[in-house]
Symmetry: C2
Subunit: 273 residues, 2 copies
């Protein structure tokens, strides 16, 4: 039986998941059975949760691991009675924080991830609209406002990355594609020249690109190994020749691609403090 892992929160559970995944990834070859239980904001829900934890303990004969973000101290204390190993962020850090700030915290349930700052929420929604209006080479008239313009060939990850930059960080990200028509003598299109400092290139391994494209259009020129190889060689040459920073998306998560681009271009989050 796989060991059960619970991500428990009186809010969304997203922070608990991130912490847990981050820690579990340090134990590489163990398979875990992960369960998220968000919005545990009443004693009744906490009781049901304890039952679920103890059931997992009985079934596996191993202590379930619990990564928690429980703002409400009563619910936290209550969950400490389960047969699992409780690792709670608030329990670990709220005390030192209160001491340093010389203040008691407000145990407002669900304050975290709430729209405590309406401006941040609007930044994110506007950025999503911008990313959609400037997806795949459209909306070039808005490029003045863009903070980054991602460039790359088809299926190298431009659209998911633009949308992630928008949703997670409120960043205005456009993206512009290079197609087979631009090959093999690829050069920087005139429309992009005034925005050279905002350009960031994506590339990808030939094998991966070939596999992704073959799933979309099997047995096409578009997905052929030769075509993929040629297009990748052409864009990478373009990036180097024009000194455009670029990243190979093959082994990175969307989070990593996005944050590395921001670090490289010095773009600040629009969703913090």
């Amino acid at each position: 039986m796989q060991r059960t892992v619970f991500f428990i929160s009186d809010g969304t559970g997203i922070t608990a998941e991130a912490i847990g995944q981050s820690l579990l990834s340090q134990f590489e070859n163990i398979p875990f059975n992960c369960v998220t239980i968000p919005y545990i904001d009443t004693i009744e829900k906490a009781q049901d949760t304890i039952k679920q934890i103890n059931l997992a303990f009985d079934e596996t004969n191993e202590k379930p691991l619990i990564f928690a973000t429980l703002v409400n101290p009563k619910i936290r204390e209550y969950l400490e009675q389960s047969h699992g190993l409780l690792m709670d962020v608030f329990n670990a850090f709220l005390n030192p924080l209160e001491k340093e700030l010389q203040l008691k915290s407000s145990y407002t349930i669900g304050r975290s991830h709430a729209v405590s700052n309406y401006e941040h929420y609007q930044n994110r929604v506007s950025a999503v609209n911008f990313a959609l209006a400037c997806d795949d080479g459209i909306g070039t008239k808005y490029y003045d406002d863009a903070e980054v313009i991602l460039i790359g060939i088809s299926r190298s990850g431009k659209t998911p990355t633009s949308l992630y930059l928008a949703l997670q960080f409120g960043i205005l990200a456009a993206n512009y594609p290079f197609t087979s028509d631009d090959m093999p003598n690829l050069h920087l299109p005139e429309i992009l020249l005034p925005f050279k400092k905002k350009l960031f290139g994506l590339t990808i391994n030939v094998e991966r690109l070939h596999a992704i494209r073959a799933e979309r259009r099997p047995n096409s020129t578009y997905s052929s190994y030769k075509q993929c190889e040629m297009e990748i060689k052409a864009v990478e040459t373009l990036y180097r020749r024009n000194q455009i920073p670029f990243i190979n998306t093959t082994t990175f998560s969307i989070e990593e691609i996005a944050t590395r681009i921001m670090a490289s271009l010095g773009i600040q989050r629009k969703t913090l403090g």
Copy 2:
């Protein structure tokens, strides 16, 4: 001077930000000056970071707060020498975790958020493609595959929510709009009838909707208070009459809207364990 807060990581910094924001939101009226420093994966970068922390200490005469996810114990120990208050997730939880699992963790830098699972990465990218193919009432022929179909009037948050469900959780989310042409005698369109169990409604406060629409199209019927009020009343009646679960997006973050929808419909994450 505002107190400085650092989110420091040898990875993306996203988990450190989430933890820090979550904890800081418990101290409501204090303004913080937040700085994220990701990819601190060498002693040289750690040295620069310590300088930055100590400079903030000198400027503000207050200990900077540091929320960290540092996998590498050498870099963590090194950062403990700064003049800030270091709160590190790995330091807090790795020891109890190693004891319970009776294993030593692999201090692989940047394993967290890496594409440790290519399947998860592909789930997310496919889900983004699905959300775009089924945005705003298009792609109804794919509704069989949808896990949720968000419904609502213009500017109630359908598109950002669909994309967040896709990017964060790999969930196949479509969205279908109701327009002024459907009003005032709004009824459930025939195309949606076979998918009633997948429907989830969004609504919004009149004042907020009026403000958002007025920014897009000032002095239009579309943005008038009266029109907004009428459309909201019509959708909410539709939701109630057809027993469609719904959420008012006005006071929630995108994270909360998404996770509450998942909890309500019993949709599982495609990006865990």
